[in-house]
């Protein structure tokens, strides 16, 4: 059928517009696109992926082997290779009591803080969602302020609030007849303090995310549920939570990564003290690697964050990909 109406005109005139091969290559869409993305690629490979692998390499060295002169001249020496123990730093760390304290404190810090941030964020989001729409902006704006202040700055305020001799909290407590609390002096209170500050900084972020998720649940669903006879609790359980599940998961996973890798709060508030009881991987790695000058040991410590970060990242990626497929 297709050729039924084809006229038998002579073939159409051709004009030769073939640019030479090089120009053609640079005019190709994919080439232009690659060039536009090139700075990003260089940045990612040069300043993220390479350093990450470099950290693995560094962690296998000994402190003396990281001097630049050694790396340049002596790396090939057989006797040095004989004493080269790739897992020496790891073995050393496993024998240190402080290391296990850091593992314990990092997990305690991250798990407790994320759970409380998520709970507090969820409750707050509900309260904000509950009040009339025109007041919501004001409250939301006020409640997000802890997230906006640079954490190093706001932790300074907490440090002053927890000051051993001039604590404004202790002033209130003694005024009410309670004992003074050694906020940063006692190990358990110090742990409590860093977690509290982390919750203070992070809960507003959860609130904003959950609020956005709450707003995206169509009203008709609640109306349908109400008509089906669902009470307040059942509406949350059967409508709100399933609809928000994705956001809840992603926010919690994001926060797990950020909290687990936290540095600012502990560094400013306790600097790991008292007696290294509140060190996280990041602060301890800083203390050993930068302040102590033992780069390989510091790199080893920071690498212990990788497994947990990787697990969280895999789950986030799975969630995001799932959503991409649904869309």
């Amino acid at each position: 059928m297709a050729d039924a109406v084809l006229s038998s005109d002579p073939p159409a005139r051709r004009i030769i517009t073939r640019p030479n091969a090089v120009r053609r290559f640079f005019q190709r869409k994919s080439t232009i696109a690659f060039l536009m993305a090139l700075p990003l690629i260089i940045l990612i490979f040069g300043l993220v992926i390479y350093p990450a692998f470099y950290a693995v390499y560094l962690s296998t060295l000994r402190k003396s082997m990281t001097s630049v002169a050694w790396m340049r001249n002596c790396a090939w020496l057989p006797d040095v290779i004989c004493t080269y123990l790739p897992f020496g730093n790891m073995q050393f760390l496993f024998t240190r009591e402080t290391f296990w304290k850091v593992v314990y404190q990092s997990c305690l810090f991250a798990i407790t803080a994320v759970i409380f941030k998520a709970l507090l964020g969820f409750i707050l989001a509900h309260f904000v969602h509950n009040i009339p729409a025109k007041g919501q902006r004001k409250w939301r704006g006020m409640l997000l302020i802890p997230w906006v202040i640079p954490p190093a700055m706001s932790t300074l305020a907490w440090l002053w609030l927890f000051d051993p001799s001039y604590s404004a909290f202790n002033y209130v407590l003694t005024g009410a007849g309670f004992d003074r609390i050694p906020w940063t002096g006692d190990a358990n209170w110090a742990r409590f303090a860093v977690i509290l500050v982390n919750i203070w900084v992070g809960a507003p972020f959860f609130m904003i995310m959950y609020l956005a998720a709450l707003k995206s649940v169509p009203d008709q669903l609640y109306e349908a549920a109400a008509i089906d006879g669902a009470n307040w609790w059942q509406r949350i359980w059967y409508v709100t939570l399933p609809m928000m599940r994705n956001i809840i998961a992603i926010t919690a996973l994001f926060s797990t990564i950020v909290t687990f890798a936290n540095f600012d709060i502990v560094r400013v508030l306790t600097a790991g003290g008292p007696l290294d009881q509140t060190h996280l991987f990041a602060t301890w790695a800083f203390k050993l690697g930068i302040e102590g000058g033992d780069i390989p040991l510091g790199a080893s410590v920071s690498l212990f964050m990788v497994p947990i970060l990787a697990v969280a990242a895999i789950f986030i990626l799975r969630d995001i990909n799932q959503r991409g497929n649904e869309a």
């Binding site: 994919s30 696109a33 700075p39 409250w139 906006v148 954490p151 203070w200 540095f263 970060l309």
Partner: protein, 305 residues
């Protein structure tokens, strides 16, 4: 309103109670909401308010055993002293310069990259988009030690010293800002209908013109959100400047305040709080004026893309 009209209807007395109790429930839910919101707002605003209170006190009042929650002799002396202190002004200048440059660099890298990744497929572009997102998840605390060593080796090899120079931060901050900005810009660009760039191409626009004359203006809200993000991240960054800079004239604000003002001297707290408050002010001011963009950028990471 509805309740009032219905309850006035004498033909349906049973409805009256139902509607009445429902609105009473609402009222109580509202009261509880406000009650808790006030409590939480007090908790959330306490540190910045206490910063402000302390910043208005003299050293004498701070060290006195008076009520710390009240200012008996308000003074602006801390502000005056800090703003005439050369080193604090240097911190502030360094922070401003670093943040401005980082924002510019970030936008120059991430906008073209996001455009290429969302519109002009090339070999490996899908993998790269995922890679961008994964890079965003790599925390600074994992990279500061290898970066420190890399810069030291770089100095040995090339003779160019990067450590203890404020501009080393221009090299490392983009690792924190570029992945996220690229990621959210990919999301914003992807929401622009495909026909719009086709129309531009038929109208005779090159890829570059399509980007500058169509995509950037249309995705402007996203670009503002990304700019705010890049600025706040570089303003607040603490670990990298702490690790890579030490000389007083090279420090940025957060590190400067913490390393130079804290000397275990209790009487400096007025100045420390003043410094911290002034340091927190630029992000707060941006937030106050561009709150909607700020929040859009915050939620974009998980809700777009």
């Amino acid at each position: 309103m509805t309740a009032a009209t219905v309850t006035s209807n004498k033909g349906a007395p049973s409805r009256k109670t139902a509607y009445g109790s429902m609105s009473r429930d609402r009222t109580w839910a509202l009261r509880w909401s406000y009650f808790f919101l006030v409590i939480f707002a007090a908790f959330f605003l306490l540190p910045p308010i206490y910063m402000f209170i302390t910043s208005l006190k003299t050293s004498a009042e701070i060290s006195a055993a008076t009520n710390p929650w009240w200012v008996y002799n308000p003074t602006l002396a801390n502000y005056a002293e800090l703003l005439t202190k050369p080193e604090y002004l240097v911190f502030f200048r360094n922070s401003v310069v670093v943040s401005t440059f980082v924002v510019t660099i970030t936008m120059l890298i991430s906008i073209p990259a996001a455009f290429a990744l969302s519109r002009m497929r090339f070999w490996g572009s899908a993998t790269l988009a995922t890679g961008v997102f994964l890079t965003y998840l790599v925390p600074d605390t994992l990279l500061f030690i290898p970066l420190f060593k890399m810069f030291a080796v770089f100095h040995e090899v090339t003779g160019i010293q990067l450590l203890n120079r404020w501009w080393v931060l221009l090299v490392v901050y983009p690792t924190l800002t570029v992945p996220f900005c690229t990621w959210i810009m990919i999301g914003y660009f992807a929401s622009i209908p495909k026909e719009l760039d086709e129309a531009a191409i038929i109208d005779g626009a090159s890829w570059f013109q399509t980007l500058t004359r169509i995509f950037i203006p249309v995705a402007l809200p996203g670009i503002i959100a990304a700019t705010i993000f890049a600025f706040t991240v570089s303003w607040a960054q603490f670990l990298y400047p702490l690790a890579f800079t030490t000389s007083v004239d090279q420090l940025v604000l957060p590190v400067g305040i913490i390393t130079t003002l804290i000397r275990g001297d209790v009487f400096a707290w007025g100045q420390i709080m003043t410094g911290a408050l002034l340091g927190a002010l630029p992000p707060l001011i941006i937030y106050a004026f561009l709150m909607d963009y700020y929040i859009a950028g915050l939620t974009a990471g998980a809700t777009k893309g």
